[in-house]
Point group: C2
Chain length 503, copies 2
Amino acid sequence: MTVLGHAAESRFTGPPNLQTHRKGQTVLVLGAGLAGMLAAYELRKAGYSVRILEYQARTGGRNWTLRGGDRVAEMGGAVQDVKFAAGNYINPGPWRVPYHHRALLHYCRAFGVSLEPFIQLNYNALVHSSDTFGGKPQRYRDVAADFTGNVAELLAKSIDAHTLDKELTQEDRARVREAMRGWGVLDADMRYTSTLHLGSRRGWDQRPGGGPDGAPVPVSTSSLLDRHDLFAPPVWQALSYFMNYEMQTTMFQPVGGVDMIGKGFAAQVSDLFTMNARVTRIAQDDHGVSVSWTHTETGATSVEKADWCVCTIPLSILSQIDVQVSPAMRAAIGAVPYTSHIKMGLEFKRRFWEEDEGIYGGISFTSQEISQISYPSYGFHKPGPAVLLGAYTKNMAGLDIAGMTPAERIELGLRQGEVFHSQYRKEFSNGVAVAWSRMPGSLGCCAMWSEESRKQHYRNLTTMDGRVVLAGEHASYLGCWQEGALLSSLDAISQLNKRAQAN
Amino acid sequence: MTVLGHAAESRFTGPPNLQTHRKGQTVLVLGAGLAGMLAAYELRKAGYSVRILEYQARTGGRNWTLRGGDRVAEMGGAVQDVKFAAGNYINPGPWRVPYHHRALLHYCRAFGVSLEPFIQLNYNALVHSSDTFGGKPQRYRDVAADFTGNVAELLAKSIDAHTLDKELTQEDRARVREAMRGWGVLDADMRYTSTLHLGSRRGWDQRPGGGPDGAPVPVSTSSLLDRHDLFAPPVWQALSYFMNYEMQTTMFQPVGGVDMIGKGFAAQVSDLFTMNARVTRIAQDDHGVSVSWTHTETGATSVEKADWCVCTIPLSILSQIDVQVSPAMRAAIGAVPYTSHIKMGLEFKRRFWEEDEGIYGGISFTSQEISQISYPSYGFHKPGPAVLLGAYTKNMAGLDIAGMTPAERIELGLRQGEVFHSQYRKEFSNGVAVAWSRMPGSLGCCAMWSEESRKQHYRNLTTMDGRVVLAGEHASYLGCWQEGALLSSLDAISQLNKRAQAN
């Protein structure tokens, strides 16, 4: 298909062709997240009669965007009213789409969801760790240049010391040496030091300009970063982050908020939803499935029957429901803990990161609990308030911070963010902090498989049990990603269809 | 101003404050490119009476966008009619705006020019050289991972061989070793080889999926790239390209074409233009400047008088005009050759690079004359025809190709582009190839300063001579960039204003 013949590597080569020859069988889909909506969409297309039960009052599940006027109610009773200005938003759950998530990209295209670049790597963003560089944040540009330069200098020295004579031919030693000189921007003596040429990586103390006095002034050698600190984990981890397959550019975001994807799916199956339905029991026998549910507002109870069931309820919730499946699947459902990330959206009165510092999108890293700040990849140069991602905590820090009130979480976000931006307090307007462990719909952010639990439970979880098949990011090897939810869903409905044809 | 206090490094800290106390002095600006329009805008704001003479029938100069219906007429008589579909375009001149070009970004913001991310680094784009990897193009992702891995393995080996014991403390040796393991994705034995973990850089032979059989399959060790070839210049040059200060992300492009910038400037000074004016002589004495010009359509001649003159005519043209300045400035004007780049815009019937290969924006490099292909950073997933940059030649290759007819140039673009994309011929629709050496307005792409000519002539070129001051990218240390033109212009008008105040 292509010059490189790499198309085969994808799990997704197009929408499924389910070829049902027994039209009109009924399917009950539990959960109106991406996995559930995709299952409903494709199964109906194939001739099934589908309904979707959803616990929340909105579709999309963790595919969710918060805007001014939205309310976040969490377990424990805390309520946050989002006060962002019109046009501003934060995506508390998934927020970006890598170039190789072919299924998600396919459906975005099919459903008319507009995409725009999400800026991952910004050389002008910052890297901070309390243990390195005296706790002073450094430009990604500078740490990248200095790390590369130091690696190149050390390797070139080793070649000159004949350490690698057995490893490399004489020709290759010269070749690697020259590569190190160019790639590392070493000087004539193979040292990494400040030269005019280093401006091509590091920038300048005084940038090139116009007119008679336009000559650039290189950064001083004393401003080059300390080698000991350059090889600290926070540095190479930041460099590695952007090389990571799931984080590599080109990266996208839906124009206007990630829930444009959820809305794109929902529009295709809008007549199939029953909202506010808390599932209390999933039973099955040889003849069909019956799902008991309670209306979250009226308290009315119902039993819904169907030939088949696709259950996309997160395991954190499903493990608390009476589900009539094999002991092996039951054990799997109970075996997977969920992550507890926290994401904060902070609105500031102006885009000081752009105006004062030339930071447009991208991510600044810190060793503090907030872990990162991500600047908006939309509305560049727009006057007025803007929202950035003020925290995207690691799992354990998220659990701690979930114990705080929303106001305390925001305070922590401001305090820690100030390490990057002294404008933080002065320009702050309002914020929202979503603690996933307290979100009623999922009680966590996503499934946290270990190598061990994967070995023991994954196949049992994902293999259709009688008339019930599970789907969602938890039923994939691409956990925490929307693509995982979609690929899982496509696999689940293919299992279902196969069994329905055999029945 | 900021935590890092780096704001001082910029040449631009805001629009100039010229504080004229002698209002109404007249200035003649020659050339309606960015430098000329900015000079006119700021001088008028300061109280000068300004007019602009422009040779071409359009404003913007090299800030130029070609769309369907446009015509390109070049020296030698060749004419190309652009046949792109509505909404498609190519920028034959400047096309992108780095995050640190503060003057350009300032005026984009001030004049309401919308910006969107320009995708530079795309890990799924390709690197090709006829001399490496058997002439087969490789994914940037793969060459980056394998280069990094090999560097890390070689450096770790050198540490283990105690070569660097004098260079690094024992603690740092352990630290660098661990950094190499993480950054280079080395295995437990510090070898760069295919492991499950390498999927985090290289991707997979079979990507992670959903359902029981979703486990990923790592790339085979045999597919790792040859070390000898990995250290060839085309590889480290491609890696270095994206680390280059002028090429680092975040990078922008104006929404809708780069000429949105030119139009933004032109709207501010729309009443000042005299178009189709070929300048034939620039004379000056103690009392003022007089510029002779001929109307390019009617042949009518005129002489325009003013107190001062800002001349932004490219040196390639100016050197052919009778200019009454000091011998030193005259020598400088004649001393700078111009580059001869060629850019081709190729329109294809569909976005096969996105649909078939998952390439969204970014640049593929080749050792062939076309040098690079750049995929559009706008209109992602749009059905129907799309335009990519099919060639952006190096200087010498550009001169050769300028000798061909436009049709021959396009044929070369197609032939060489096929090395990346077998769909090229089948999907091709139409194209345009702009040879800058043949463009009447500039007879070249931009000024090509050498270290020697810079030393000898730059100051003479950029220092105001009597009542005439030169401006443009050629009068800056940031040649070939729009920012250079603006910074030069700001310096020139500040020289002019100073002299006008002293007079």
